[in-house]
Protein backbone atom coordinates (compact mmCIF):
# COMPACT_ATOMS: atom_id res chain seq x y z
CA UNK A 1 0.00 0.00 0.00
CA UNK A 2 2.82 2.39 0.82
CA UNK A 3 4.30 1.66 -2.58
CA UNK A 4 0.99 2.70 -4.14
CA UNK A 5 1.22 6.02 -2.32
CA UNK A 6 4.86 6.62 -3.16
CA UNK A 7 4.33 8.40 -6.50
CA UNK A 8 3.38 12.09 -6.12
CA UNK A 9 1.09 11.85 -9.13
CA UNK A 10 -0.91 9.07 -7.47
CA UNK A 11 -1.39 11.28 -4.44
CA UNK A 12 -2.60 14.02 -6.77
CA UNK A 13 -5.06 11.59 -8.34
CA UNK A 14 -6.35 10.59 -4.92
CA UNK A 15 -6.96 14.22 -4.05
CA UNK A 16 -8.95 14.65 -7.26
CA UNK A 17 -11.18 11.63 -6.76
CA UNK A 18 -11.79 12.04 -3.05
CA UNK A 19 -14.68 14.47 -3.53
CA UNK A 20 -16.38 13.09 -6.60
CA UNK A 21 -16.14 10.17 -8.99
CA UNK A 22 -14.23 11.14 -12.11
CA UNK A 23 -13.47 9.53 -15.46
CA UNK A 24 -9.90 8.95 -16.57
CA UNK A 25 -10.04 11.76 -19.14
CA UNK A 26 -10.92 14.43 -16.59
CA UNK A 27 -8.28 13.19 -14.16
CA UNK A 28 -5.64 13.19 -16.89
CA UNK A 29 -6.55 16.71 -17.93
CA UNK A 30 -6.40 17.98 -14.35
CA UNK A 31 -3.05 16.30 -13.78
CA UNK A 32 -1.59 17.32 -17.09
CA UNK A 33 -0.71 13.70 -17.76
CA UNK A 34 -1.58 11.26 -20.50
CA UNK A 35 -4.64 9.04 -20.14
CA UNK A 36 -2.35 6.04 -20.44
CA UNK A 37 -0.23 7.16 -17.48
CA UNK A 38 -3.29 7.98 -15.37
CA UNK A 39 -4.85 4.62 -16.20
CA UNK A 40 -1.71 2.92 -14.97
CA UNK A 41 -1.71 4.92 -11.72
CA UNK A 42 -5.40 4.18 -11.19
CA UNK A 43 -4.76 0.49 -11.68
CA UNK A 44 -2.03 0.56 -9.00
CA UNK A 45 -4.31 2.48 -6.62
CA UNK A 46 -7.17 0.09 -7.33
CA UNK A 47 -5.01 -2.95 -6.63
CA UNK A 48 -3.91 -1.33 -3.36
CA UNK A 49 -7.58 -0.92 -2.41
CA UNK A 50 -7.37 2.88 -2.27
CA UNK A 51 -9.60 3.59 -5.25
CA UNK A 52 -12.80 2.01 -6.56
CA UNK A 53 -14.12 1.99 -10.08
CA UNK A 54 -17.82 2.16 -10.85
CA UNK A 55 -19.72 2.26 -14.10
CA UNK A 56 -22.18 5.00 -15.01
CA UNK A 57 -23.64 4.10 -18.35
CA UNK A 58 -20.67 3.60 -20.62
CA UNK A 59 -18.35 5.65 -18.47
CA UNK A 60 -15.94 4.31 -15.92
CA UNK A 61 -15.65 6.55 -12.89
CA UNK A 62 -13.00 6.39 -10.20
CA UNK A 63 -13.48 7.38 -6.58
CA UNK A 64 -11.60 7.09 -3.28
CA UNK A 65 -12.28 3.93 -1.32
CA UNK A 66 -12.30 4.95 2.36
CA UNK A 67 -11.98 1.33 3.47
CA UNK A 68 -8.52 1.28 1.90
CA UNK A 69 -7.40 4.00 4.27
CA UNK A 70 -8.87 2.15 7.20
CA UNK A 71 -6.57 -0.75 6.44
CA UNK A 72 -3.59 1.56 6.18
CA UNK A 73 -4.40 3.08 9.54
CA UNK A 74 -4.70 -0.43 10.88
CA UNK A 75 -1.25 -1.24 9.52
CA UNK A 76 0.28 1.79 11.21
CA UNK A 77 -1.54 1.28 14.48
CA UNK A 78 -0.95 -2.45 14.63
CA UNK A 79 2.71 -2.61 13.65
CA UNK A 80 4.29 -1.86 17.00
CA UNK A 81 1.62 -3.17 19.40
CA UNK A 82 1.53 -6.47 17.54
CA UNK A 83 5.33 -6.73 17.36
CA UNK A 84 5.74 -5.88 21.04
CA UNK A 85 3.26 -8.62 21.88
CA UNK A 86 5.46 -11.01 19.93
CA UNK A 87 8.56 -9.68 21.69
CA UNK A 88 7.02 -10.38 25.08
CA UNK A 89 6.14 -13.90 23.97
CA UNK A 90 9.55 -14.51 22.43
CA UNK A 91 11.35 -13.37 25.58
CA UNK A 92 9.03 -15.45 27.76
CA UNK A 93 9.72 -18.51 25.59
CA UNK A 94 13.45 -17.81 25.75
CA UNK A 95 13.38 -17.59 29.52
CA UNK A 96 11.77 -21.00 30.02
Amino acid sequence: MFAALAAPQRQQILRLVRDQPLPVGVIAESCGASQQAVSHHLQVLKEAGLVDMKREGRRRLYVVNPDGFDSMQAFVADLWPARLDKLRQAVADGET
Binding site: F2, D19, G94
Partner: protein, 155 residues
Protein backbone atom coordinates in the same frame (compact mmCIF):
# COMPACT_ATOMS: atom_id res chain seq x y z
CA UNK B 1 2.54 16.94 9.72
CA UNK B 2 4.63 15.19 12.26
CA UNK B 3 3.07 12.25 13.98
CA UNK B 4 4.53 10.11 16.69
CA UNK B 5 3.46 6.62 17.49
CA UNK B 6 4.29 5.52 21.01
CA UNK B 7 3.71 2.17 22.58
CA UNK B 8 5.07 0.16 25.48
CA UNK B 9 4.91 -3.29 26.97
CA UNK B 10 6.35 -5.11 29.97
CA UNK B 11 8.58 -8.02 29.04
CA UNK B 12 9.38 -10.79 31.57
CA UNK B 13 13.18 -10.59 31.62
CA UNK B 14 15.78 -8.05 32.75
CA UNK B 15 17.01 -5.37 30.32
CA UNK B 16 20.36 -7.13 29.82
CA UNK B 17 18.47 -10.08 28.33
CA UNK B 18 15.87 -8.10 26.42
CA UNK B 19 18.51 -5.84 24.89
CA UNK B 20 19.83 -8.76 22.86
CA UNK B 21 16.48 -8.94 21.05
CA UNK B 22 17.35 -5.62 19.40
CA UNK B 23 20.92 -6.36 18.32
CA UNK B 24 21.07 -10.09 17.53
CA UNK B 25 19.47 -10.92 14.16
CA UNK B 26 18.36 -14.37 15.24
CA UNK B 27 16.62 -12.99 18.33
CA UNK B 28 15.21 -9.96 16.48
CA UNK B 29 13.52 -12.26 13.97
CA UNK B 30 11.69 -14.05 16.78
CA UNK B 31 9.45 -11.01 17.12
CA UNK B 32 9.72 -8.87 14.00
CA UNK B 33 10.54 -9.45 10.35
CA UNK B 34 11.63 -12.44 8.33
CA UNK B 35 15.12 -11.42 7.23
CA UNK B 36 17.66 -9.29 9.07
CA UNK B 37 21.23 -8.10 8.66
CA UNK B 38 22.40 -6.23 11.74
CA UNK B 39 25.62 -4.54 12.74
CA UNK B 40 24.75 -3.18 16.17
CA UNK B 41 27.09 -0.23 16.50
CA UNK B 42 26.57 3.45 15.71
CA UNK B 43 26.50 3.73 11.93
CA UNK B 44 26.11 -0.02 11.56
CA UNK B 45 23.69 -1.68 9.15
CA UNK B 46 20.05 -2.18 10.11
CA UNK B 47 18.39 -4.20 7.36
CA UNK B 48 15.05 -5.80 8.10
CA UNK B 49 12.38 -7.21 5.81
CA UNK B 50 8.90 -7.26 7.32
CA UNK B 51 6.34 -9.19 5.29
CA UNK B 52 7.79 -7.92 2.05
CA UNK B 53 8.47 -4.37 3.28
CA UNK B 54 12.22 -3.72 2.94
CA UNK B 55 13.12 -1.63 5.98
CA UNK B 56 16.56 -0.07 5.58
CA UNK B 57 18.43 2.00 8.12
CA UNK B 58 21.39 2.34 10.44
CA UNK B 59 21.93 1.95 14.12
CA UNK B 60 22.27 5.48 15.48
CA UNK B 61 22.57 4.74 19.20
CA UNK B 62 23.39 1.46 20.89
CA UNK B 63 23.48 1.95 24.66
CA UNK B 64 23.41 -1.40 26.43
CA UNK B 65 21.14 -2.31 28.07
CA UNK B 66 18.87 0.72 27.97
CA UNK B 67 18.45 2.28 24.53
CA UNK B 68 18.61 1.54 20.83
CA UNK B 69 17.88 4.12 18.14
CA UNK B 70 17.74 3.14 14.49
CA UNK B 71 16.99 5.10 11.36
CA UNK B 72 14.04 3.64 9.50
CA UNK B 73 12.83 3.85 5.94
CA UNK B 74 11.59 1.67 3.14
CA UNK B 75 13.83 0.87 0.16
CA UNK B 76 12.33 2.28 -3.03
CA UNK B 77 9.88 4.53 -1.20
CA UNK B 78 9.73 8.22 -2.08
CA UNK B 79 7.57 9.07 0.92
CA UNK B 80 9.63 7.14 3.42
CA UNK B 81 13.10 6.59 1.96
CA UNK B 82 15.78 4.83 3.99
CA UNK B 83 16.96 6.99 6.87
CA UNK B 84 13.93 9.29 6.77
CA UNK B 85 12.58 8.43 10.24
CA UNK B 86 14.01 7.21 13.52
CA UNK B 87 12.69 4.60 15.88
CA UNK B 88 13.73 4.64 19.52
CA UNK B 89 13.50 1.65 21.82
CA UNK B 90 13.92 2.37 25.52
CA UNK B 91 14.40 -0.40 28.06
CA UNK B 92 13.68 0.38 31.70
CA UNK B 93 13.98 -2.13 34.56
CA UNK B 94 10.85 -2.64 36.64
CA UNK B 95 10.60 -3.36 40.36
CA UNK B 96 9.74 -6.98 39.56
CA UNK B 97 12.89 -7.67 37.55
CA UNK B 98 11.14 -7.31 34.22
CA UNK B 99 11.68 -4.69 31.52
CA UNK B 100 9.42 -1.94 30.29
CA UNK B 101 10.02 -1.66 26.54
CA UNK B 102 8.92 1.61 24.96
CA UNK B 103 8.82 2.33 21.24
CA UNK B 104 8.70 5.83 19.85
CA UNK B 105 8.29 6.16 16.11
CA UNK B 106 8.06 9.81 15.07
CA UNK B 107 7.01 10.86 11.61
CA UNK B 108 5.60 7.50 10.79
CA UNK B 109 4.46 7.17 7.22
CA UNK B 110 1.08 8.86 7.26
CA UNK B 111 0.89 10.78 4.01
CA UNK B 112 0.09 14.45 4.29
CA UNK B 113 -2.86 14.30 1.95
CA UNK B 114 -4.61 11.87 4.25
CA UNK B 115 -5.15 14.69 6.71
CA UNK B 116 -6.82 16.76 4.06
CA UNK B 117 -9.40 14.10 3.34
CA UNK B 118 -12.95 14.78 4.51
CA UNK B 119 -13.28 13.72 8.14
CA UNK B 120 -15.53 10.78 7.35
CA UNK B 121 -12.84 9.42 5.04
CA UNK B 122 -10.12 9.83 7.60
CA UNK B 123 -9.50 6.75 9.70
CA UNK B 124 -10.36 7.42 13.30
CA UNK B 125 -11.71 10.89 12.51
CA UNK B 126 -9.62 13.74 13.79
CA UNK B 127 -6.19 12.94 15.16
CA UNK B 128 -5.90 13.37 18.88
CA UNK B 129 -3.19 15.03 20.87
CA UNK B 130 -2.37 12.53 23.53
CA UNK B 131 -0.71 13.41 26.77
CA UNK B 132 0.91 10.32 28.12
CA UNK B 133 2.55 10.22 31.50
CA UNK B 134 5.03 7.54 32.27
CA UNK B 135 4.31 6.18 35.70
CA UNK B 136 8.01 6.32 36.40
CA UNK B 137 10.55 3.54 36.66
CA UNK B 138 13.88 4.12 38.29
CA UNK B 139 13.10 7.80 38.64
CA UNK B 140 12.71 8.26 34.88
CA UNK B 141 9.58 10.34 34.61
CA UNK B 142 8.59 11.82 31.36
CA UNK B 143 5.61 13.09 29.51
CA UNK B 144 5.16 12.31 25.88
CA UNK B 145 2.98 14.46 23.71
CA UNK B 146 2.04 12.66 20.60
CA UNK B 147 -0.22 13.33 17.71
CA UNK B 148 -1.39 10.00 16.53
CA UNK B 149 -4.14 7.55 15.90
CA UNK B 150 -5.09 6.65 19.43
CA UNK B 151 -5.63 3.01 20.21
CA UNK B 152 -6.24 3.14 23.98
CA UNK B 153 -7.08 -0.55 24.09
CA UNK B 154 -3.63 -1.48 22.84
CA UNK B 155 -1.30 1.20 24.12
Amino acid sequence: MTTTFTCSIEVPAPPATVFNYFIDPELLLTWIGDHAVLDAQPGGEFTLDIEGVPVRGRYLEVVAPERVVVSWGHAGSEKLPPGSTQVQFTLTPTDTGATLVEVEHPEIDVPMFLWRLPAHFRPGGMPAVRRQRDTGHGGNRKIVFSLDFVRPDRC
